[in-house]
Amino acid sequence: MISPALSVSDLTVSYGENLALWDVDLQIEAGCLAALVGPNGAGKSTLLKAALELIPRVTGTAVFFGQPLARARQGIAYVPQRSAVDWEFPVTVLDVALMGSYGRLGWLKRPRRTDRDQAVSCLQRVGIADLAHRHISELSGGQQQRVFLARALLQGADLYLMDEPFTGVDAATESTLIETMRSLRSEGKTVIVVHHDLQTVPEYFDEVVLLNREVVAQGPTGSVFTAENLQTTYGGKLALLTP
């Protein structure tokens, strides 16, 4: 049997005295497109960060393809929220994409010609190769999101964790993003996305985790993404959006 791409158990995280996640158990099978869905402050981004050991946990474990993070790191690509980077930093679009090769480079090695060529083809794949030599801050929000997807593609990972990739992007970028995710799935990769737009969940994702500090429900979108479960996840605030 194949191990799940991500398996989280007993995960509890707190910011000071505020409980962000409580006793979370979840499994995402390998080879699917999965969405983490829930209201603001539900702990969706926190869940990804805690699994990647970017923030401390109170209790709990996260296992990737049956391995702890230290051994699975090479196979994981993380796409942070756009607000998490320093936009004034002197890097071009190509420089950022190339950062996807650092994980597999030796300690003091620099990217080689072949890495650069691969970075360019990753930029091509998300449709922004013509912007390769621009400074990163000159791009639109959607184009910036594509750069980070290109960087993740260059990593050649098996699991892609994306924190709100669809937020604030144009329609063209949204369709590029989802097409790229689908082609990753067809290569047998796994994509887990923190997602806000409930309307598109059934169309985009195979699996859904409904989260509000605790896991409300998880499983195939068809059986989990129900009006009742959404009502429980969002409280009474969702009359208009239920499918």
Partner: protein, 286 residues
């Protein structure tokens, strides 16, 4: 012109100031990009009490001994500043300003103590205030060259990692980088540059050596490699002009001379820089 290279003082002064300018410019680039220029300023001011204490304890004016005092004092000030900044409800910038002036005040008091001791060997410690390139010895040139050269070599080797940790710290961590190691390394290199620089430009103005070259260079390029090279070049030019003026006008303090030439470069760059200069931006906007 041959006199330039055969004259012992001329050669030492020129070589020392140019190397110091180049190395400081390169080593200051990452702290500036990380918005930590003021930390460098605070550490530079804090080296004055360290230098004075080192002299009081050992009664020698040997440059390496004084540098050890400077490094220890810089480390202590860094720890104190980081502790104050971790206290809630204290603005980090204000904490730095406060720590900087306190350390400097202590240094000036200690300098007074040193100067009131009967030991005639104390003469010359006051040069650490404003710097004195015209008194650079060949020993200092060797120290500047080796410490600075080694630091720059280290930075050059790890530029990609430093860039990643600065540009996108979250992603860097997922790649297995420990951010605290890299900021520690940068602080260590900055302290090294400060320790070798204070004898030439003085503790008060050392931070300008670290900040001005990369601030100027950033106006011309949006790529990291050229930025580092240009910062080194601007630093070297500033060092050269500072050293020359200190030779032409024997009592002219070197620190201010270097800082003024660097500032001219910075202002010209801000006005005319190709990447972000005001004139170009205006023309592009029009």
């Amino acid at each position: 012109m041959t006199e330039w290279w055969t004259d012992y003082t001329l050669r030492n002064v020129t070589l020392g100031a140019v190397m110091l300018g180049a190395f400081s410019g390169i080593l200051g680039t990452f702290p500036v990009l990380r918005r930590q220029g003021l930390t460098g300023d605070a550490m530079a001011h804090a080296t004055l009490p360290g230098v004075c204490l080192a002299f009081l304890l050992t009664q020698t004016k040997s440059y390496p001994v004084l540098m050890v005092g400077a490094v220890v004092a810089a480390l202590v000030s860094l720890a104190l500043v980081q502790w104050i900044q971790s206290v809630p409800r204290v603005d980090p910038g204000s904490a730095l300003g406060w720590g900087l002036s306190t350390a400097f005040g202590l240094g000036v008091v200690l300098l007074g103590v040193v100067q009131s001791t009967p030991n005639a060997g104390q003469a010359g410690l006051e040069k650490f205030l404003m710097g004195q390139a015209s008194a650079i010895t060949s020993e200092q040139v060797v120290v500047i060259g080796s410490v600075g050269g080694l630091s720059v070599l280290i930075v050059t080797m790890v530029v990609p990692r430093l860039a990643l940790a600065t540009f996108d710290p979250t992603f860097a961590q997922t790649q297995g980088l420990r951010l605290s190691y890299w900021s520690g390394l940068l602080n260590a290199l900055m302290i090294g540059a400060i320790a070798v620089g204070i004898g030439t430009v003085g503790v008060i103005l050392m931070s300008a050596m670290l900040i001005a070259p990369s601030a100027a260079a950033r106006q011309w390029t949006h790529r990291l490699g050229p930025l580092l090279v240009l910062a080194g070049l601007f630093g070297a030019v500033g060092g050269l002009f500072g050293a020359l003026s200190s030779l032409w006008v024997p009592r002219a303090p070197t620190g201010p001379a270097i800082v003024l030439s660097l500032s001219v470069l910075a202002v010209v760059s801000i006005l005319f820089g190709r990447d972000r200069g005001l004139l170009w931006s205006r023309r592009r906007g029009a």
